[in-house]
Subunit: 332 residues, 2 copies
C-alpha cells in the first residue's frame, strides 16, 4: 500500500474551505493508502511566533476537525511535527543540499511574501519551512502528497532533495513524492472574496454551531446590484449559490435549480434562499458536529491518538535518518 | 561551576594554529569550568557536502587531537552534534525568531562568502549554521564560549536569540553566553601567509611525524631578501622566529635571543635556525604524539568517550528543549 503524507499547519480551526480543498480528499483516500496526517506545529510559528501558546490549542482543534469529518484513527496515523526531532535533523542535512538562491526562488515563498505584504520582514524559519516540509514528507518516505496548487512548488523542492541525496548516496533511499490533486477545491469566502481565512472573517468553521452558521449565511454577500427581491439576480459567482452547489446532497439538487431560475427572474428573495442554504449547511455539518461531540468527551482518546502516531512516526523517522546517515557515512 | 561550550568543525585534522588559537585555552580551562567540547559534524557539511564520508574520519581525528594535547575525558564531555537531534529542533524554533535579513547581515557570514569566493553560490545550510551554533551552545546552557574573533558575531547572534526567547517566555531559561578570548591566537602559516589551512598546505599538524615536521620546517618561508647566511636578516614577521617564540620552552628562550641577534647581523644561516626550530617543535609535539599513540591503541575507549558524552548531552538537550517548549506552550 502506497504511503500518503498530508497535514495541516495549526494556525486556526478548519473551515468549509479546508473541507473542499483537502479533507474530503483525505476521507476518500484513507482506505486506498497508508495515510499519515501531520500537524506542523513548528511551521505554525512562522505565523504565531509572538503567541506560541495558541498552537497547542489549534493542534487539538485541528485533530478534532479531522476526526469529526470521518477520518478513522484506526487507519490514519496522526502525528505532531515537534514530537519528531529527527525531522529537524533531516531538514538540517537537506539544507546543506539546497542553495540559498534556490530556496528564495521558490515561487510559493515569493507569492506568500507578496500576498502577506511581508516586504523584507520575514524570519529565517519562513525561508526554511519548505525544507522542513520536505523532511515531514521524506521522514516517512511519503510517495503521494495531496496538495493544493500553492504547495506544488514545495513538492518540487522535495523531489529535488530526494533526487540529490539518492544520487549522492547512490541509492534509492527516498521516493520522489508525487502530487495528487483534489477536486477544484478553492472555496470563495462568505463575503465573495476569492481568498478565505480567519483574518478575513469570511469563513464557516466545521465546528460552528447551528446559530453561528445561520448568522454567517444571513450576512453572506450575494448580488450587490440587486436591491429588491423582485430585481433579477445573478447566480454566477454568487456565494450563496456556490455554497449550495458545493454542499447540497443529491436530493436537493432539483430545488437548487428551481431557486436559481427564480433568482434570475426576480421571483425569490435573498432571505428565502439563505434560509434554504442554512438548512443545507446544517444538514451537512450535523454528522460532523455529532462526531466532534463524541470525541470531545474523550480527551484521553485524543491524546492517545497523537501519542500512538508520534511513537510510530518517530520509529520511522529515526530509521530513515539512520539509513541516510549510514549511506552518507555520517554515522559515528 | 560555570559551563564552557566549545568545539571543532571536523573538516580536517587540527594543527599548531588550532593549538595556539583554542586548544591551550581549553587545557587551561578544563579544571576551572564544566567543559563541553562539541564536534559539529553537520556543520562540516557546509564544506564537505559532496564527500560526507570524510566527516566521520575527521571527527575521530579531531577527538584524538583534543585528547592528545591533554584534555581529560574524565572532566571534559565530548559530544557529536548529529547525535543530539534536539539541537536541530531547537535551531528550527530559533530560526522563527531570527529575521532572514539579520541572518544575512551576520558579518562573519559576509566575510566567509567573500574570503571563500562563494559569490551567491552557498547553501541554505550555510546561512543557517550560526543558528545551529546557537543551539549547540544553548542546548547545554553554555555560559562561557572561548572564541576567536571570527566567532564573536555568532555569539552575539546567540545572545540575541537567548534574550528574545527569555523575553517571550518571561523567564531566564537561557544564559547569555559570554566570549572568552584566548591569547592572541592567530598563527601565521609556514609559508608566511597570515591564514593557515589545509587547502593552503602551510600547516604543521599535531599528528605530524618527526620527519614531516622537519620537512615542513626546512621548507619554511623566512626572509626572502636574504640570499646568503652572511646577509643581515629580518626577524620580525619571519615564521621561523614566530614559531620559535610561540612553541619554545622557557629553557630555550635565551638561545632564541642569541639566534635572533646573530640572524640580524648575518652570523647564522637559515638551516641552523630551522634545525633548532625542528628540535623545539618535535620536543613540543613529542608528549602529544605519545598520548595520541596510547589512545590510538584503544578504539573502544574513544568510542565510549563519545557515546558517554552523547548520552549525557542528549539528556541535557532534551531537558532544555522540553523546558523551552513548555514555557512557550508548545508541549502537546
Amino acid at each position: 500500500m502506497k504511503r500518503v503524507l498530508t497535514g495541516d499547519t495549526p494556525t486556526g480551526k478548519l473551515h468549509l474551505g479546508h473541507y473542499v480543498g483537502t479533507l474530503e480528499n483525505r476521507i476518500k483516500l484513507q482506505n486506498e493508502y497508508e495515510m499519515f496526517i501531520l500537524f506542523a506545529d513548528t511551521h505554525a510559528l512562522t505565523t504565531l511566533s509572538s503567541t506560541p501558546k495558541m498552537i497547542a490549542e489549534y493542534t487539538k482543534e485541528v485533530l478534532l476537525d479531522n476526526l469529526s469529518v470521518g477520518l478513522d484513527p484506526k487507519s490514519v496515523t496522526f502525528f505532531v511535527e515537534s514530537a519528531i526531532p529527527e525531522i529537524y535533523e533531516l531538514a538540517a542535512i537537506f539544507s546543506m543540499y539546497v542553495s540559498h538562491n534556490r530556496a528564495l526562488r521558490n515561487p510559493t515563498i515569493k507569492d506568500e511574501i507578496k500576498s502577506k505584504g511581508l516586504g523584507d520582514q520575514y524570519s529565517l524559519g519562513f525561508i526554511n519551512y519548505p525544507i522542513f516540509q520536505a523532511a515531514d514528507i521524506l521522514c516517512v518516505k511519503g510517495q503521494v502528497v495531496p496538495v493544493g496548487r500553492d504547495q506544488e512548488a514545495h513538492l518540487e523542492q522535495t523531489r529535488e532533495i530526494a533526487r540529490e541525496l539518492n544520487k549522492l548516496t547512490n541509492s534509492d533511499i527516498f521516493p520522489e513524492p508525487q502530487a495528487l490533486a483534489g477536486r477544484v477545491g478553492k472555496l470563495i469566502g462568505t463575503d465573495g472574496n476569492p481568498k478565505m481565512g480567519k483574518s478575513l472573517n469570511n469563513t464557516i468553521y466545521l465546528s460552528d454551531s447551528k446559530d453561528e452558521v445561520e448568522k454567517r449565511v444571513m450576512n453572506m454577500y450575494t448580488d450587490p446590484k440587486r436591491i429588491h427581491p423582485s430585481d433579477p439576480g445573478t447566480v454566477e459567482g454568487n456565494p450563496v449559490f456556490i455554497y449550495l452547489d458545493t454542499f447540497a446532497a443529491e436530493k436537493d439538487k432539483r430545488q437548487i435549480e428551481e431557486y436559481k431560475n427564480k433568482y434570475k427572474k426576480g421571483e425569490v428573495g435573498d432571505v428565502e434562499v439563505k434560509k434554504f442554504l442554512t438548512g443545507i449547511l446544517n444538514e451537512f455539518l450535523e454528522p460532523i458536529r455529532q462526531r466532534r461531540a463524541e470525541y470531545e468527551k474523550k480527551p484521553d482518546l485524543l491524546q492517545s491518538i497523537l501519542d500512538k502516531g508520534n511513537v510510530r512516526v518517530r520509529e520511522d523517522a529515526a530509521r530513515t535518518l539512520n539509513e541516510l546517515k549510514q549511506k552518507m557515512g555520517l554515522d559515528l
